[in-house]
Subunit: 206 residues, 2 copies
Amino acid sequence: MAKKEKIKPVVDVSTEEKIKQAARKVFTQKGYAATRTRDIAEEADINLALLNYYFRSKEKLFEIIMLEKLQKFFSVLLPIINDTATTLENKVEGIASSYIDLLTANADLPLFILSEVRNNPEIFIKIAQRKNFLQESVLVKQLQGKRADINPLQFLMSLLAMCIFPFVMKPVLQRMADVAENDFQRMMLERKMLIPAWTKAMLKAK
Amino acid sequence: MAKKEKIKPVVDVSTEEKIKQAARKVFTQKGYAATRTRDIAEEADINLALLNYYFRSKEKLFEIIMLEKLQKFFSVLLPIINDTATTLENKVEGIASSYIDLLTANADLPLFILSEVRNNPEIFIKIAQRKNFLQESVLVKQLQGKRADINPLQFLMSLLAMCIFPFVMKPVLQRMADVAENDFQRMMLERKMLIPAWTKAMLKAK
DNA sequence: GTCTATAACCTGATAGAC
DNA sequence: GTCTATCAGGTTATAGAC
């Protein structure tokens, strides 16, 4: 349980939580550098000084939000790829389904993480539990058992690409391909079926 | 006429060009908001005032660089997808090969474009020659001829994802999967073969 | 805990000498 | 065209009253 409030009505959250919610929104939308603490204060409907009272600095607040977001992003992946009870096909379905659900509700999450990691690689080390958690995963072993001739990272990268990239491209798609919000969501739902079918075909390809 | 130099030795470029080169580097590395005009001036090894003398403002300079980068990014795609003389398979090979070459030399190009478009959608309209240039392309028609039951955008999105996403993920990969620069480049070369094979399998999948 | 006022600093841009 | 010096405005952060 991340928070200690017993029952917290949605209409009356603590000031600290209001600031965090606002920070989540503004940071992910605009990125660290383009965000002013005033934007966050205004969004949270609180006084600017309170931000520093609760979080000391913009940077400290950002770090909290970023760690949260990284956690969110990877907590989808980790339990699935190391599940010894499921097949490779199950895992692919699970990853596609969970990521598409997560990103449908948080479309700006991947672009936020990726662009901030570029400017701030250090923060990324903090959450990376251990290096090579991908290569040492059950999924990779299953992959190698099935197709020893395929570099597992190549496959994994394509799988993640098909799940995540559409959300990174979303702003572009909406402008260059006239894809409305409805259409986009329908397409992402369809993707939950397409990705397992396509990756299955990829693993059969010679 | 922006410049009058006929032949310009690499060792002695004009001040204007030095500023542009520096701007290309700093803007793509850090993004618009995190870039200070002082960074660019320092990188270009010129006086800060000269930046404004030649380009009026940070924003104007950025616009020039961004248009250049968008041009670069889409000029790979446009001629290929509308070539009536090539097959669908040829087009996939061409896209994979050209994008991987382009991005190997300009790895931060996609993340730069994608993250700046988020903050500044207007500039994007300027270069988008016409909407729906994807849907109206020869490639989409060929796709529909082959598999009328597949949404061409779904296929195209996966194709571009497999070409571009690895470069967006590159900073993450290098930290979470311990992929060195050499390994990464080898993988991208391998991808030029994998993508045609995989997309072919995808189009056969039922 | 919350507010107002302000300090301390940074950044884009320009004036004016050369 | 290029430089130094500086301005004007904005930004983070804090001091101090309530």
